[in-house]
Amino acid sequence: MNLELLSHEWLVFGLGLAVLLADLWLPATARRGLGYAAALGLGAILLYSLLAVKVEPGTTRYAFDRMFVLDGLALFFKRFFLVAGVLVLLMAAEYADSFPTGLGEFYALVLFALTGMLVASSVNDFALLFVSLELITVTFYILASFQRTRLISLEAGVKYLILGALSTAFTMFGIALVYGISHKLNFGDLAAVAAQYSGNRLFLCGVALVTVGLGFKITAFPFQIWAPDVYQGAPSPATAFLAVGSKAAGFVLVLRVLFTAVPAVTAHWANLLMVISGVTILYGNLCAIPQRNIKRLLGYSSIAHAGYMLLGISALAVSLGNGAQPSTAGASAVLYYLSGYLFTVLGAFTVICLTLRHVESEDIAALAGLNRRSPLLAATLALAMVSLAGIPPLAGFFGKFLLLKSILTEAPGHPGCYWLAFVALAGVVISLYFYFGVVSAMYWSRETPGLPAISASRPIRLAIGACAAGMLLLGVCPAPVVGFAAQAVQTLAPAAASSAAASNSVSQVKGPGGMWPEKTPKKFQGISNIFE
């Protein structure tokens, strides 16, 4: 037992309890201050994490009989979630007026969901995976329907509850199947035997069902159906946390399950992942075109971004399938992309939260004239849209560049990667249309005259400034985060390499897709003959 490894979780959980208790004694007027205090507390924990917690690159430390792991990847995501938590709490404090009651509970629930995410980043066992997933999902059922007086918020909560419960059932069933076949729950043990079960249908079915549950979290096609409704209905801070925290938790679990628990299976699933990635990108971007509600638009856009990040996952899977020393460029690209996405999406939602908190319709047209009402907010939202569209010098551009690079790296061994890259590119071009639509609504559409200027408190200005600075800094000096991300995924590589080697030696199978032999493309003849 190694409790100090769980220091982040204990601290955040303790903070949540403290907020819950403080809520009992504080007068109603001080509630907003409670949010700032909680954000400050999280900031302190983040500082502690940056200064005091160290993980030697490439090493892993375990707790709870290897259920819980602290390695570079875990630490990267823990800090990521803490940053997200601070910004979301600030946003929630600003949004406080819109909650009739229970503001203290809202902060506490955010902190409990955060604890779940922190645990998720260290999962090394299917049992713990389920616990962390439930902790996140159950708190989000409440967060999504927190505005009990708004019908649309309740609808969002119910939809999330039903579909979330369904996906949890899938996950549970999958875990049961995996355990039933292999008698293993620990990822390390499982990796050692995964290769010999990679032909077993029930085992594959179990892994597939777990993946379904995770696909629900990351809003990958075809498990994305809940996202637009819930994003639209949930209160803005909850939506923002769902878009960043819950999705990132899904991605860290995908990385852990697919690449440390069952790499031998994943090696055969490259094609499946590529198809999911391509369809998710196209679905998200195409469905976003006709949207008029800004939060719904961001819901579809978040589906599309899940698709982009799956490019990196697919690249890792393809490289695993190719058998040689797999390159972790795909995974580190996902990590970088998530970091950029964090600042971008939180920036966008903070602006939306401030601008539309007194407006019933969350229509894009309601943004008209934002430039005159508050240049700071308009500029931040414009930056966020441009970054989501992937235009330099912002974070989104470099992230997409890294993802495309990772998938094209695998293209010589797997020509399908070229197609996937083109699909991603088509998605980017489509997305320009609706992201620029938002920018144009703010800057050059006809506005209703006489709308008051939007006031923003100092802490929220700070949060907005941090988001804008994050987008710019990550885009202009990507080197530190790229380095940190590359270090974080190091622990994935040796595990993947050894088990891929095992998979090659043990079973020369035949899973869906099979191993991809290096095709020699037909000799390029040139078109010149036509004209000569």
């Binding site: 010098p393 980017v428 249309y433 790229v482 493309p521 000799k523 078109i527 036509i530 004209f531």
Partner: protein, 537 residues
């Protein structure tokens, strides 16, 4: 360091403008004009002090940006881009001067214009693949916003979306090609000289070249309005505010051509060799088809847009010829057309500002009211039809000489397309706008009278004439660098049969070589061999 100043000044000014209150209009304008003026002066200095014929790059500067991926900030000039940087800086200055027509939200406009100018100069100066693309995108986005906000005409929104989607698609296709190239070359470095050297020593397999080259050709082709991907250009330019059109049509568009010359030709020589006949025939679409369409235009802005598309055909033809003369000519045309396009769109903007329309049947007789603008327009039209004395002539004739060996039919058609069709539409336009009876409603139209109104036009015309009379200023710089880097895979390019007078002296003095590489020998179109056409000149 001087290069960093040239491209950094506009960025610096853009940042400075963010802190200037929007009602200080004179300050906004002066900062923008001053920054572009200083960078133009530095570019002239760079051009003047360039060591002609010295191998390698000059004024280089390099430091790491993302070391893990081999991305560095690396800028430098050789003979190929020194002229382009000069042209870009001068056009940027002219565009900043011509921005007086913007009356609304000037602050944002100047910031975007400066970012665009800095991005353009950065793209031409960079010697790192990533930086090259990065700067280009940085310049492209302000273009879209400027068309969307300050554009004119009813189709403004449609034009904005079309140009945004079309050009982004082109840029992204090129990006995939560039990443694939980087990965194929080992995935260690984005440094262009380093990559060129690497790929010279270990050329890529034919299969890899055969995938990457079409990607680059298509991506860059879309950015340069290669036929049949040109439809964004006339619409976009007719809707753009004139400073934007000047910068985009003049300079930014040359990015794709520069990319082909700097990256695609030297790094993928075999595929380039195979694809050049295709390119040669596609550029016929630009020269003849778009020229023909230009003849049918009623609106002078659309005519200028199509004519700018048509002129790109010369550059493609020069590149397709793959020999020293042709590619040198291509670079000459790039520089000359940059000045010319900026001049044409600047004049269009002036006319539109005064009259509110560019429908040619509504204009007429304006030469009487606008002696200065009218003269400049006539000179621009003459330069556009390739009259000797303007830089365009020097470039176009060199391209035609270079292309003759490989593509006789295409060259003959190009002569017709360029010289006859070009002359027809340009002279017709001049007649319709400047001569004939002056309609009553234009009696109050005012000529450019102040120094600042005249400056951009005078400067651009002077540049056109300067390089028209002394093309050696450019050609002497371009040819050795091309020979050293770009055309190294084709060492013994044919120079036979070219009249020495039109050549840079270095080549004219070189022994005439009749023996061509076997690969080249079979390439001229058989039709041309069967029916030898008379020399176009």
């Amino acid at each position: 360091m001087i290069l960093t100043c040239i491209l950094g000044l506009p960025f610096l000014a853009a940042v400075a403008l963010m802190f200037v209150p929007r009602n200080f209009r004179v300050v906004l304008r002066s900062v923008a004009v001053l920054a572009t003026f200083l960078s133009a002066v530095l570019a002239v200095y760079l051009f003047a002090t360039f060591h002609t014929g010295a191998p390698g790059f000059q004024s280089e500067q390099q430091f790491y940006w993302v070391r893990a991926l081999g991305i560095s900030y690396h800028v430098g000039v050789d003979g190929i881009n020194v002229g382009l940087i000069l042209m870009g800086a001068i056009v940027a200055f002219a565009a900043a001067c011509a921005s007086w027509e913007i009356k609304d939200r000037e602050k944002e406009f100047y910031i975007l214009l400066l970012i665009m100018a800095g991005g353009i100069l950065g793209a031409f100066a960079s010697l790192d693949l990533f930086l090259f693309y990065f700067f280009h995108e940085l310049a492209l986005v302000p273009t879209f916003i400027m068309i969307g906000v300050w554009g004119r005409g009813l189709d403004k929104t449609y034009a904005t979306f079309q140009i945004t989607l079309y050009l982004s698609l082109g840029a992204l296709i090129a990006l995939i090609g560039l990443i694939a190239l980087y990965l194929q070359a080992g995935g260690k470095t984005f440094d262009i000289p380093d990559l060129t050297q690497r790929l010279k020593e270990h050329p890529l397999a034919d299969s890899a070249q055969g995938i990457i080259f079409p990607l680059l050709l298509l991506g860059f082709g879309i950015l340069v309005s290669l036929w049949p991907f040109y439809s964004w250009a006339p619409l976009g330019y007719s809707s753009a505010p004139s400073p934007t059109a000047m910068l985009h049509a003049g300079v930014l568009k040359k990015f794709g051509l520069y990319g082909l010359i700097r990256i695609a030709l030297p790094m993928l020589p075999d595929a380039a060799q195979a694809w050049m006949p295709v390119l040669a025939w596609l550029c016929m679409g630009n020269l003849v088809f778009c020229g023909w369409v230009a003849m049918k235009q009623k609106d002078f802005n659309w005519l200028a847009g199509y004519s700018s598309v048509a002129h790109m055909g010369f550059v493609f033809l020069g590149i397709a010829s793959l020999n020293l003369i042709g590619v040198t000519g291509a670079v000459l045309v790039m520089v000359a057309h940059g000045f010319l396009a900026a001049l044409t769109f600047g004049l269009n903007g002036y006319l539109y500002q005064q009259t509110g329309t560019l429908q040619m049947d509504q204009l007429g007789g304006l030469a009487r009211r606008l002696p200065f603008i009218g003269t400049a327009l006539v000179m621009a039209a003459l330069a556009g039809c390739g009259v000797p004395g303007f830089a365009n002539f020097a470039g176009e004739i060199t391209v035609l000489f270079g292309a003759w060996h490989r593509f006789r039919v295409v060259t003959v058609l190009a002569c017709w397309g360029a010289l006859v069709i070009g002359a027809v539409y340009m002279l017709r336009a001049v007649r319709a706008i400047l001569y004939g009876p002056l309609p009553e409603k234009w009696a109050k139209v005012a000529d450019a009278s102040t120094f600042w109104r005249k400056t951009p036009f005078v400067l651009l015309l002077a540049a056109l004439l300067c390089f028209g009379f002394f093309p050696r200023l450019l050609a002497d710089k371009i040819a050795p660098s091309l020979q050293e880097t770009v055309l190294a895979p084709w060492p013994a390019t044919a120079t036979a049969g070219v009249s020495p007078s039109a050549l840079p002296p270095r080549q004219a003095a070189a022994p005439v070589q009749t023996a061509r590489r076997p690969a080249l020998a079979g390439s001229p179109a058989p039709a041309a061999e069967a029916h030898p056409s008379p020399d176009p000149r």
